[in-house]
Amino acid sequence: MLAGVLLLIFLPPLVAKDLCKDSQDGFKVRLSIKTALGDDAYEWNESEMFLFRSTLAYAMRKQTKQDTYNITNILVCNDTQRVSFVFVVTSPDDPDQLIPKEQIEQAVRQNKHRINNAFLLSDMTLEFVGIPPTLAAPIIYDTEPWLIVFGVVIGAVAVGIVALLMSTVSKKRRAKEKAAGLSEEDEGIVKENGTALSGLGGKEGVYNQTFSNDNRFTEL
């Protein structure tokens, strides 16, 4: 009688352990808490395990849209110091039946982000062996950033070239105008004795020093 009662009490966990240990539908989970958090790392204990099991139950609920999943449906075994263990999921309708691998994989994949956040970990530090992390979608730019930088640089260079060329052109034009201006003055002056006075440095002509006032030097 006593043996029977004892058997009844210990059978479910034993069966559960067997379900977990021998199963093909289980996943190994590895956590690297110290790597992720360094000095802020928390200790892995029963409560953390409880949280893990509840998040997995949550993931199953979301994926199957059945509210019947409970924490008792998540069985865990093979705990190690690494902080790694194996888990299986039993069906809420029949505790002896296991949910197939593919379904668990889908559930985990869809909710990995929430599971990561519950433990302050990332895809690298919370590994489900056999479930590769979904890669972040590549960022698609409207205009590639490098084209923007290129546009700025090329615009500045083009402005510079145009400015330099304009300055050359305007310099040449000014030089031409000066030459033209001198030749215009040529036309205006009346030529005396066949010579043009403009080439001699201005309208006033050249100062002839023969008749300058040199009183300061000699007294007559």
Binding site: K34, Q81, R82, P145, W146, A158, L165
Partner: protein
């Protein structure tokens, strides 16, 4: 001096605004990409013992600027051809630098992670097999073909970058030394600023001291290899830009009374000092990268062991890794060997040196990812490379422009801006070869074959020409008239003995080494069984013919021009000299009087 040219040129020969401009331009030309990425590599190999020959050749170059007539007659055309060819591929390197510069503003840096493949279920295979940095360089930048025979198509993004590079060169070069003289204030000084910033940053990185210790301990065994000495010699020539017409051209714009001896020493010393100064941050950064790679290697081994044996986290550390490994090996050797642990050796990672484009675009970009604030460092680094290359480009183009101007090959009516623009456009069109899929292979060919034998031959011809044909005494007299003192015994011994002999030895040795083996080149072939190692392929017949052509055409121009001048002088002597004699008013010249 040619009185005809003095009388006919209404425009004055352009001049430097001040001495500082001239010095900065020469320094900018001499200090180029080679100082940053070739010298540290060679230093790594044998500890920088090759400094001494540098000084022997420098005085020649600055002084030869004053003898542009002689220089032009003997070697000007050859120098011009070399400057042209080098300018072509040098600016392509600048185009690559610009490409990396444009991408340095992206967060995260595009060469830090592999792109995702089309199915969105993994990374691109080629990237996974090699590294993200390699993938970005070979695939996303160059889009390289497996060998030189397959040309691929023009890569539009490289064409765009090449056009920008040539536009930037044009805007600085637009009026010759007038605009160059202004530009060098920035392009020659900015690299030093950046190098100092990098020096400070690099010395604070972990692993920097290992890198520096590695730099200053040479491998004496390698000194026995003549190939190494050969590489060093060509490196000096290429670095100082000795045989390029550029330095000659720059010097020709100086006033006649100029202390060229002091100038040369200044340029030479600064060039060598820059190389040494640049190698310190480079080696510190390489040491940092090697230490990072080593730690990564060990940590991945530790992770494998931890996961396989379910050991608690952080129990195996870098310090006790060895003891743990031996312990686990004794208890369960099969499991350990099945993990295929990598062999991590710090020395191995340090030996992963590279020169040239490998250093800048692969090693350095990899290092920059690990540094905090990567974008800033990447931007600074690539701007520095661009300034270094730009100031060297000025020299190359001046080496083409000045001879053309002096030989009066430019039509009168063409303004200078148009002519420089034409040069830039034509260079751009020819350089489109390097934007093909096989462009990098062609660039390596140009780099090895234009930058080696022709340079040595031209330098040799120039020194022989000045010392033996022009005469040592006349040369010393000219120097005395310019600087006020005759060159002392050290210089004379160098010019007459040591330099020509060394040049000849290096030249002969180089040719001998080259003809002994059929040249090969490394290729990037994703289909190769040992990928990511590069597959070494031999050059095919027509490609090798082009290599030989590149080496010989500049050299052949020397005798061709010499013969041409000789013939012209003979015909002049027969018909009476065409050079105007100031005392000859031609009323009584022999040609016009009929015999009475």
């Amino acid at each position: 001096m040619d009185t005809a040219s003095v009388a006919s040129s209404a425009q004055e020969r352009p001049k430097w605004d001040n001495k500082v401009q001239y010095l900065l331009t020469c320094i900018g030309f001499a200090v180029g990409l080679g100082n940053v990425w070739r010298f540290p590599y060679l230093c790594q190999i044998y500890g920088g013992v090759f400094q001494y020959p540098n000084f022997l050749y420098e005085l020649i170059k600055a002084l030869l600027g004053y003898y542009r007539m002689i220089a032009l007659v003997l070697a000007g055309v050859a120098s011009m051809i070399i400057s042209l060819l080098v300018g072509l591929f040098y600016n392509t390197i600048l185009a690559w630098v610009l490409w990396y510069f444009f991408h340095s503003f992206q967060e995260p840096l595009p060469w830090s992670q592999c792109p995702i493949n089309e199915n969105n279920n993994g990374y691109v295979q080629e990237c996974v097999a090699s590294t993200p940095v390699n993938y970005f360089w070979y695939r996303q930048t160059l889009n390289i073909t497996p060998d030189i025979e397959q040309s691929g198509s023009l890569q539009w993004w490289l064409v765009v970058c090449l056009a920008s590079a040539w536009s930037i060169v044009y805007i600085c070069f637009i009026r010759g030394i007038e605009t160059i003289g202004k530009a060098v204030y920035v392009t020659s000084t900015f690299p030093y600023l950046v190098l100092t910033v990098f020096l400070v940053r690099a010395l604070t990185l972990p692993g920097a001291t290992d890198g520096l210790r590695y730099l200053f301990t040479p491998d004496w065994a390698l000194l026995m290899d003549p190939q190494v000495w050969l590489d060093a010699a060509t490196q000096i020539f290429f670095s100082l830009s000795l045989a390029f017409g550029g330095l000659i051209a720059f010097s020709s714009y100086n006033p006649k009374k100029n202390d060229c001896e002091r100038d040369t020493l200044v340029v030479g010393i600064i060039n060598s000092a820059t190389s040494l100064y640049a190698s310190i941050p480079i080696f510190a950064i390489l040491g940092f990268k090697a230490t990072g790679n080593f730690n990564f290697c060990i940590n991945s081994n530790i992770l494998d062991l931890t996961n396989a044996f379910d050991v608690a986290e952080r129990n195996i550390t870098i310090e006790n890794y060895e003891s743990w490994l031996t312990h686990l090996n004794t208890t369960d050797p099969d499991k350990v060997s099945s993990l295929n642990l990598k062999h991590c050796d710090l020395q191995n990672f340090m030996d992963q040196s590279a020169s040239g484009t490998g250093l800048a675009f692969i090693l350095f970009t990899e290092a920059v990812i690990e540094m905090p604030g990567s974008q800033v460092w990447a931007v600074l680094f690539f701007i520095m490379l661009f300034s270094l290359g730009l100031s060297s480009m000025f020299g190359n183009l001046e080496g083409v422009l000045t001879p053309l101007l002096d030989l009066h090959l430019v039509p009168r009516w063409m303004p200078k801006e148009l002519f420089t623009g034409l040069i830039c456009v034509m260079n751009f069109l020819v350089a489109l070869i390097f934007t093909l899929g096989s462009g990098n292979y062609w660039l390596e060919i140009f780099n090895s074959y234009v930058g080696s034998i022709p340079l040595l031959v031209i330098a040799f011809c120039e020194i022989i020409g000045v010392v033996f044909f022009y005469g040592m005494n006349r040369f010393s007299d000219d120097i005395e008239s310019m600087t006020g003192r005759r060159p002392n015994l050290f210089w004379r011994v160098c010019w007459m003995g040591i330099s020509p002999i060394m040049l000849l030895v290096v030249l002969v040795a180089y040719v001998v080494v080259q003809v002994q083996k059929h040249p090969t080149y490394p290729t990037w072939n994703p289909e190769y069984e040992n990928f990511p190692e590069s597959e070494v392929k031999p050059y095919s017949g027509w490609v090798f013919a082009i290599c030989v052509l590149l080496s010989t055409v500049p050299v052949l121009s020397i005798p061709i021009v010499a013969v041409y001048r000789l013939i012209r002088r003979q015909t002049q002597l027969q018909t009476g000299s065409s050079l105007p004699n100031p005392y000859d008013n031609q009323a009584f010249s022999t040609g016009s009087i009929k015999a009475l």
